[in-house]
């Protein structure tokens, strides 16, 4: 290898610590609210750890209801993520790589579930996919399929709420990726589908992975749309967040244990994303 710089290389990530300058006194109007803000974010989590019934934790975790809810949560969140990948990546591609009238409007529509209260999302899903809904009634008549209050309904509710995270993440990765590689592939005789499969997708893989993890985390924590659209039936639609809510009314200690499980899952995800995502924000 000569001294020449390789033509294709990721731009070097510069560390934020290189900022020079003379350190001055920190201004208290910034520092004090900052510390209060930090405490506000961290204290509740610390409280959860402090109040956890550590001595009985193993038995409580092994309770069939907890395991059932955890299993259901993991399975539905994973399936919902798979659905989001299958539909969201092509949608992101369409938004990032093609020009069609109304593209901006569609892009705005895609992000609506992001800001919509999840309960409203659940109501909307009921109106469309419910037994008497626009599509739901047809689904039932044609295939005998009914989504509300089923495990499939949980997946639908979670995917509805979580998909924007994936679409936005993947679209960002697509826009950041150099489209000229795709042009190069086209000159080599690759069809647009081949270009997507063999050039675009491998190049945006980190963005897709980050989007999928975010999407999965969002699906795992989904509450409002799920309880509205799928209800709260242990074993079929009662996911962890729903179980936490229910336990809080009957058995607060169990709610703490369940919360602790969800918290550790979140921490594990954050740790996994540390490199790719958190450090860039």
């Amino acid at each position: 290898m000569t001294t020449a710089t390789p033509p294709v290389s990721a731009p070097g990530r510069t560390s934020g610590r290189e900022r020079g300058g003379v350190p001055g006194r920190l201004p208290w109007p910034l520092v004090i609210p900052a510390l209060i803000g930090l405490a506000f974010l961290v204290l509740p989590l610390a409280g959860l750890l402090v109040r956890a019934p550590w001595s009985t934790l193993p038995q409580r975790l092994a309770e069939p209801q907890v395991l059932q809810a955890l299993r259901l949560s993991l399975v539905t969140a994973t399936v919902a993520t798979a659905v989001c990948l299958l539909l969201g990546v092509p949608l992101a591609w369409l938004l990032a790589r093609t020009a069609f009238p109304g593209r901006r409007l569609i892009r705005a529509l895609v992000t609506v579930p992001l800001v919509l209260p999840p309960v409203v999302g659940g109501v909307a899903l009921l109106l469309v996919l419910g037994r008497r809904g626009l599509i739901g009634s047809w689904l039932e008549a044609a295939f005998g399929l009914s989504l509300p209050f089923t495990t499939a309904g949980v997946v639908v509710a979670e995917a509805f709420v979580a998909m924007p995270f994936l679409v936005i993440s993947v679209e960002g990765a697509l826009r950041a990726a150099d489209a000229r590689f795709e042009e190069a592939a086209a000159t080599l005789g690759a069809s647009r589908w081949t270009v997507f499969r063999r050039v675009t997708l491998p190049m945006i893989a980190p963005g897709v992975a980050a989007g999928a993890v975010l999407c999965w985390a969002r699906a795992l924590g989904e509450f409002g749309a799920t309880i509205t659209f799928a209800g709260n039936f242990p074993g079929t639609t009662q996911t962890m967040p729903l179980a936490v809510y229910l336990a809080l009314e009957t058995e607060p200690e169990a709610a703490v244990v369940l919360s602790l499980v969800l918290l550790s899952v979140s921490v594990v995800i954050l740790a996994g994303l540390r490199e790719r995502w958190v450090s860039r924000i």
Binding site: M1, T2, T3, A4, T5, P6, P7, V8, S9, D178, R180, F181, E183, A184, A185, A186, T187, L188, G189, A190, S191, R192, T194, R198, V199, P202, M203
Partner: protein, 354 residues
């Protein structure tokens, strides 16, 4: 030109008229490149050279015109069906694929089996001398190696038209010389038409059989390197080949440029160009006498180092550059603003019709 276009069957090679219109830019260029011929598009930045290549590749849409390659229309096909080989300025090797798989990409897209495509790619890597780098990712290749992989990848689709966009621009000066010699060899072996874009006249002259100079979206001059170098027709080309160029009016043995009457070695009538090399200009403090030459009173506009010599910019009836030795600068005690006599022998002054 060692392969004249007119000797080829009319349908062979590339025939193109490219019109691309954009706000504040219009490209209108005609290209004829015979099979086996290498044509260099030379021009300043923003002249539209790269747009020509992109239009040929189908990456930029045509506003008008047509492209015919070996008798078949090309402009109606999308990029992936044009069967062209393109080497991009920064190569654009796929970062996630090994050198071998980069080269195999074309054959794979063409429907070859994985093993078959890799065999083709292996042979091509061998041809560019990189067989032992087959498994290496582009990020670990040097600039020169990446350039050769990019060439191999472009040749792997067995193109009938090869497009090279500033193929040596991303290389350092040392590597460039070596890669240029290799590229020249590979281009000589290639039997299709080649269009090469560059802003480096030396690169164009070494690599190409014929030059086409593009400025502001149109062809301003074309011909063999020797023709272009000897008879520049625009200030840009004159600067590239390092000649003083003036436009005037010929009346046989003389060309009148502004108020100055220059004798030339050639006879021209009517609108004419006069060209002479800066090294042919001699400077004197007092009016010289003797052999017949073109003589004028000039004012020194600037003095700068130029290789081993000193380039003196002259103002006066005509603007010109003169290359003199550092010793001459000292002897003549030259300084900006000074009045001086400039002379060029008639035998070193070339005149040709404008």
């Amino acid at each position: 030109m060692n392969r004249p276009v007119q000797d080829r069957p009319p349908h062979g090679g590339l025939h193109a008229r490219l019109v691309v219109e954009r706000p504040a830019f219009r490209l209108d260029v005609e290209l004829e490149v015979a099979a086996g011929e290498v044509v260099a598009l030379l021009g300043p930045n923003g002249a539209g050279k790269t747009t020509v290549l992109r239009a040929l590749a189908g990456l930029t849409g045509l506003t008008g015109g047509s492209i015919t390659l070996d008798g078949r229309p090309l402009h109606t096909l999308p990029t992936e069906h044009r069967r062209i080989g393109m080497v991009f300025q920064d190569y654009l090797l796929f970062p996630h694929l090994s050198a071998l798989d980069n080269v195999a990409f074309g054959p794979r897209s063409d429907g070859a089996s994985k093993a078959e495509a890799r065999r083709t790619a292996g042979e091509l890597l061998e041809r560019v001398g990189l067989a032992e780098y087959a498994a290496v990712r582009p990020g670990r290749l040097s600039g020169g190696q990446a350039q050769r992989v990019a060439l191999a990848r472009a040749l792997a689709v067995r193109p009938r038209l090869l497009l090279l966009d500033e193929p040596l621009a991303a290389l350092d000066a040392h590597t460039r010389l070596e890669i240029r010699a290799q590229l020249r060899r590979h281009l000589a072996d290639f039997d299709g038409a080649t269009v090469l874009v560059t802003h480096d006249p030396l690169e164009a002259m070494v690599l190409a059989d014929r030059l086409i100079v593009v400025e502001h979206g149109s062809v301003v001059q074309q011909g063999t390197s020797a023709e272009v170098a000897r008879r520049p027709r625009t200030d840009y080309v004159a600067r590239l080949v390092g000649l003083n160029l003036h436009r005037g009016h010929g009346d046989g043995a003389h060309v009148k440029v502004g108020e100055l009457l220059l004798s030339a070695s050639d006879h021209v009538e009517g609108p004419a160009f006069v060209a002479f090399a800066p090294a042919a200009v001699a400077l004197y403090r007092s009016r010289p006498d003797g052999s017949p030459r073109n003589l004028w009173r000039a004012r020194i506009d600037g003095i700068e180092r130029h290789g081993d010599n000193v380039r003196v910019h002259l103002d006066g009836p005509i603007t010109a550059s003169a290359d003199v030795t550092p010793a001459a600068v000292a002897d003549l005690d030259l300084s900006p603003g000074q009045e001086i006599w400039a002379a060029v022998k008639a035998t070193e002054t070339h005149a040709y019709p404008a």
